[in-house]
């Protein structure tokens, strides 16, 4: 039970759950019942008549499958005697509304009770997910879980936020540097833990020689993967690539570029429903870059879906140049060591094609890189995982009990 003062209660709307039934006693991490609940949620979402038309909902349903959860369990440190922290409070992102579901799943799997502040923006996928979730929580076998879930919405209100943070044994903040700084101004219990998703920068590394040797069919497959990384979240996801780094000599890079970009532009023209304002925004961003960037070699507006800005060399200032909706920066390096001046703690995901992953790992260790948390084959840049931003989310949201 948690006592919510009336003046706080008056300022939020409850979407799922009830404050009178809400329970903050922790349970074991990776509890069988939680996994089975999420698996059932997965099945219900997949069965929804509109699921096929909503890629973000399908991705969530796929992710919530028991098989996927168990594979995350094996890679998580909390796969021993771990128990939840108690009450977790989540500030969920507005611009990827469906992410609230991942945040909820992590905290439940860690054995916590969860209060989530959902964005006031919603979309069709979120509505379906919320509806399916609340129906499932009405079923008697899931009552223990229903008591651990409390989803609310409120306009920005420091009193409400301060109340929940004062109670939270763990807090999960999606939403970048500004939101994190804002949340840290509120008092929390001394042992309260935090998972904060800051603003990040991501890039991809492509081996030109490999691409030059690929068959047309293989190029096409790679480009479909590449397309997902770049266009699925309009390139605005923190793990979507902003910069393509070509590894190789002049002639192989020229050949690889022409093959890959042409193929990607064709796929994007076919699959990506770009809006007028996105084309305009991209043009504005390109003009600003033309003025502000010190190092541009060439700009090519290849199609409404794809603009490429080639830069002569890279340094840390490159991170401030970002594109959306298919505005890609690219450059060429002769050896992976030339990446070093770009890497700091802001760098999250490095997706790769045709490069040995051990080469990248070796680069990170030998250069003592403070960034690059994920090294994934192209196509996997947006795949959510318990191991994210350099830490184990479920372990961080649970308490490991040692017994000797």
């Amino acid at each position: 039970m948690i006592l919510i003062p009336n003046n706080i209660q008056a300022h939020f709307t409850t979407l799922v759950g009830s404050s009178s039934d809400f329970h903050i006693q922790p349970t074991r991490a990776w509890e069988e019942q939680t996994i089975s609940f999420l698996n059932t949620l997965s099945a219900r979402l997949r069965r929804h008549p509109e699921a096929n038309t909503l890629p973000d909902l399908m991705a969530l349903a796929f992710w919530l499958r028991k098989a996927n959860l168990l594979s995350m369990k094996t890679s998580s440190y909390s796969n021993r005697l771990s128990i939840g922290l108690g009450l977790t409070f989540h500030i969920c992102p507005a611009n990827v509304p469906i992410n609230f579901a991942y945040s909820l799943a992590f905290a439940l799997l860690a054995g916590n009770s969860c209060v989530l502040r959902l964005s006031s923006k919603s979309n069709h996928s979120t509505d379906i997910a919320l509806q399916t979730l609340s129906q499932l929580l009405l079923e008697s076998e899931y009552q223990p879980i229903a008591q651990r879930v409390f989803l609310i919405r409120y306009e920005h209100n420091d009193d409400v936020t301060a109340f929940w943070l004062s109670q939270a044994a763990g807090r999960v903040i999606w939403g970048g540097d500004h939101t994190i700084n804002k949340m840290r101004q509120f008092a929390t219990p001394p042992r309260s833990r935090e998972i904060a998703f800051a603003d990040r920068y991501s890039l991809c590394l492509l081996d030109a020689t490999y691409i030059s040797c690929c068959s047309d069919e293989l190029i096409n497959t790679h480009c479909h993967h590449f397309y997902n990384d770049i266009y699925q979240l309009d390139q605005a996801g923190c793990s979507s690539p902003q910069l393509c780094v070509w590894l190789g000599d002049d002639s192989s890079v020229i050949e690889a570029k022409s093959r890959l970009w042409q193929c990607l532009a064709d796929i994007a023209a076919d699959k990506y429903a770009i809006e007028d304002i996105q084309v305009l925004n991209k043009f504005v961003d390109t003009c600003n870059a033309a003025i502000d960037h010190e190092n541009i070699a060439n700009i090519e507006i290849a199609s409404p879906e794809l603009t490429r800005i080639e830069v002569k060399s890279i340094n840390i200032s490159q991170q401030s140049f970002r594109g959306t909706s298919g505005l890609i920066y690219e450059t060429r390096i002769k050896s992976i060591a030339q990446l070093a001046p770009l890497i700091n703690e802001k760098v999250q995901t490095l997706s790769y094609l045709g490069v040995e992953k051990s080469t990248i790992a070796e680069f990170i260790y030998s250069n003592g890189c403070s960034g690059i948390d994920r090294i994934v084959p192209i196509g996997n840049a947006l795949n959510m995982h318990n191991l994210w931003d350099g830490y184990d989310i479920i372990t961080t949201l649970s308490r490991i009990v040692t017994i000797d």
């Binding site: 500030i91 992102p93 507005a94 611009n95 990827v96 992410n99 964005s119 979309n123 920005h156 999606w174 939403g175 970048g176 540097d177 500004h178 939101t179 804002k182 949340m183 998703f197 603003d199 979240l233 309009d234 390139q235 605005a236 996801g237 923190c238 979507s240 770009i274 809006e275 007028d276 304002i277 996105q278 084309v279 305009l280 925004n281 043009f283 504005v284 390109t286 003009c287 600003n288 033309a290 003025i291 541009i296 700009i299 090519e300 507006i301 409404p304 959306t324």
Partner: protein
């Protein structure tokens, strides 16, 4: 001061008399001169022109003049004269929230704006100063700490009237005492009325309708502009606006105007046929939303605005975020030469996706 010569020539251009070929050759040579000025005097503009590819695949008479997105006046400091020559910086919140556009004016550009605006207004209302009614409240111009586009507009257009009377009280209700006195005094005479579109609509037309009052402002010519989108949301069309206005005020001659703070002076007047007209100093190009290529007449697209006036900042060719359609050139029933077009609103903002800052907004 060599520029005084061409300035005389520029401000002597006839507003709507030149046929296409003549206008194009004069305007293009003026723009080429402006382009040279800005290339040599405005480093960000030079860098832009040097780095950006030529976007026009098929070429257009105005292709050499890069369509500079208006939003760049927010993110970049674009000026082509030394700081000490700047006499006024105009600011507008413009299209997308937080940051403001900054337009730097020197004496020459500022004077040109006044001259050309005067040419366009007097072409419409005649050279004689008319009794003028401003559909706004006096505090809009008195309170200079809140100098806005509204203030600038009222002050700018007030130069073409006399005995300026404000139709609204400071609480935006109608000042019937002042209004009736004005009507009595100038009954049967030609009068000039100016107001911002949404203010005329909300605080004048709708207010009169709600009070079930009718006033007699026949023999008047109303010039209005700005903020059309605020009332468009309530589904007010042009003809709607005119007929309901006429019903409560008996005003028959109504002219909307279209323009941007980035190109103050060279505004596009609505002709008797209800179309916006380019003058000799201005031109529009309609560009495809997706490919940004100039489209054929009659097709919708983004409006690129050309103006011969900006000498102190590179605003001679700008890409707006407004949707327009070119209806024709030199053949409007109203008799004015030049391109005529319609404006149909603004490009719709996209749904934001991704995972950057969210709580702050």
């Amino acid at each position: 001061m060599s520029y005084e010569v061409d300035e005389v020539i520029l401000s002597d251009w006839p507003p709507y008399a030149w046929p296409k070929q003549q206008k194009q050759s004069v305007l293009i040579s003026k723009l080429a001169e402006l382009d040279q000025i800005h290339l040599s005097q405005c480093p960000p503009f030079a860098k832009l022109k040097q780095s950006m590819p030529n976007i026009d695949l098929n070429g257009h008479p105005f292709s050499p003049f890069f369509p500079l997105p208006v939003r760049l006046f927010k993110s970049q400091e674009l000026k082509s004269v030394p700081q000490e020559s700047i006499i006024k910086t105009m600011m507008s919140s413009g299209t997308s929230g937080q940051s403001v556009s900054k337009i730097y004016l020197d004496k020459r550009t500022s004077a040109l704006q006044v001259k050309i605006l005067s040419k366009l207004v007097t072409h419409l209302i005649g050279k004689q100063r008319l009794p003028m009614l401003v559909i706004d409240c006096p505090s809009t111009v008195k309170n200079r700490t809140k100098f806005s586009a509204r203030t600038a507009g009222i002050l700018g257009f007030s130069m073409y009237g006399r005995d300026i009377t404000y139709a609204l009280n400071d609480d935006m209700t109608i000042n019937f005492d002042a209004l009736n006195a004005f009507i009595d005094k100038y009954q049967g005479q030609k009068k000039f009325i100016f107001g911002f579109t949404y203010i005329v609509w909300l605080h004048f037309v709708e207010a009169l309708e709600q009070l079930s009052k009718k006033i007699d402002l026949s023999e008047s010519i109303l010039l209005h502009g700005g903020g059309w989108k605020k009332i468009e949301a309530n589904k007010v069309t042009k003809s709607h606006f005119k007929s309901r206005l006429a019903n409560v005020t008996a005003i028959q001659s109504v002219h909307n105007y279209y323009g941007m703070i980035e190109q103050t002076g060279s505004i596009f007047m609505e002709c008797k046929q209800g179309h916006f007209h380019c003058s000799s100093w201005s031109e529009v190009i309609i560009r495809d939303f997706k490919t940004l290529q100039p489209v054929k007449d009659g097709n919708l697209g983004l409006i690129q605005l050309i103006s011969a006036l900006p000498h102190s900042y590179p605003g001679h060719s700008i890409l707006s975020e407004d949707i327009g359609v070119k209806l024709g050139e030199d053949d409007c029933q109203c008799g004015w030469k030049g391109t005529y077009f319609d404006v149909l609103g603004r490009v719709k903002q996209a749904e934001v996706r991704g995972c950057s800052d969210t709580y702050s907004k």
